[in-house]
Symmetry: C2
Subunit: 191 residues, 2 copies
Amino acid sequence: MKTEDTRSDIMQAALDLIVEQGFHGAPVAEIAEKAGVAAGTIYRYFVSKDFLITELHRELEEKIVAVVQESYPSERPLRERFLYLIRELLRYFITNPLHFRYMEQYYNSPYGISLHRDRLLGKPGNQDILMDIFEQGIDQQVLKELPKAILFSLSFGSLISLMRDHILGFIVLDEALIKQTTEACWDAIKR
Amino acid sequence: MKTEDTRSDIMQAALDLIVEQGFHGAPVAEIAEKAGVAAGTIYRYFVSKDFLITELHRELEEKIVAVVQESYPSERPLRERFLYLIRELLRYFITNPLHFRYMEQYYNSPYGISLHRDRLLGKPGNQDILMDIFEQGIDQQVLKELPKAILFSLSFGSLISLMRDHILGFIVLDEALIKQTTEACWDAIKR
DNA sequence: GCAAAATGAGTGAATACTCATTCATGGGAG
DNA sequence: CTCCCATGAATGAGTATTCACTCATTTTGC
């Protein structure tokens, strides 16, 4: 087996187990077993379990940002760009529910708390795109005149809650509902 | 010391530690030390650490429901009742940030996941009040015609996100902002 | 003086991580 | 083509630590 495969086998096993049982319900030995390697092998690829956990987060985020940025219609009107963003994010997580649940768990743990500030203040990545939308929206008097962090909560807070309910099976978001709900997110921030 | 005090000392210590360090960052020994009792004493009041954790959640929820239901203007118009609910919830958690962070952590863990379904489908408690509002709102064509679970996400998802940001210090919600943002929550679900 | 409450050292189970050893692979010599 | 060997990947039993929980003993308060 190529070493790259081993590495991603380990990550996949960790993702599965952690999503299902939480960080402390996923001992290294079990991750190893699920990945089909010995426990020691994990330490050839990750210096510690903590590192594995943060690395998993980092790579997932990278992938998500890439997907959402791809074919982002940067020349289209504000509303359209905004709807594009949240629709693609919804679609991504609906297709990759484990990724969503992992990210949620990560942010809601000692690991993720320090990251939150960076996100809101706009690190490189899709957050910049979003902050641009908010900024222009306020300038053009299309959006409510509220701090950007609040616009973020008003729109993405809903979205995340929706995704969770869909992924946990409490609701089913079909195409029609996705359209309606993403527009409702827009309604929350439009003037 | 009266035994009731001991019990609540233990709960308070657990709350503080768990909020700060997470469930597995709060060993029984440390909770005991912070509460000013010996480790063994905890087991006179709670059969296990797990029980302490779920009990803490249960009592916090009880308290929150009581506060929000108190002086709920059940005879006033829909919009007013809705705004009352979310404003009071915001106020409660702003006053008791540790309670918010504990609840968040709890729901986002193996403990809380089973509870979520009950909430959305309307257990006794403030959720019933909320579901009534949604039901009537749809009947009276005041609210968007969407599943109640979705209306919940659209309004309370934002709210929770807002609270988190305020409590973690990323934004400051003063009275004016509370008014604006709770109204924005309404905008997300109104027709 | 006794019952209830509190104690905290002790126990066993779980877990992250180590490291001496084994195994697999590919390429070069014959 | 075959054999051999070097290199680095993989192994998994072992270690040190941590933690929830127990219980024989002490303290408290009535």
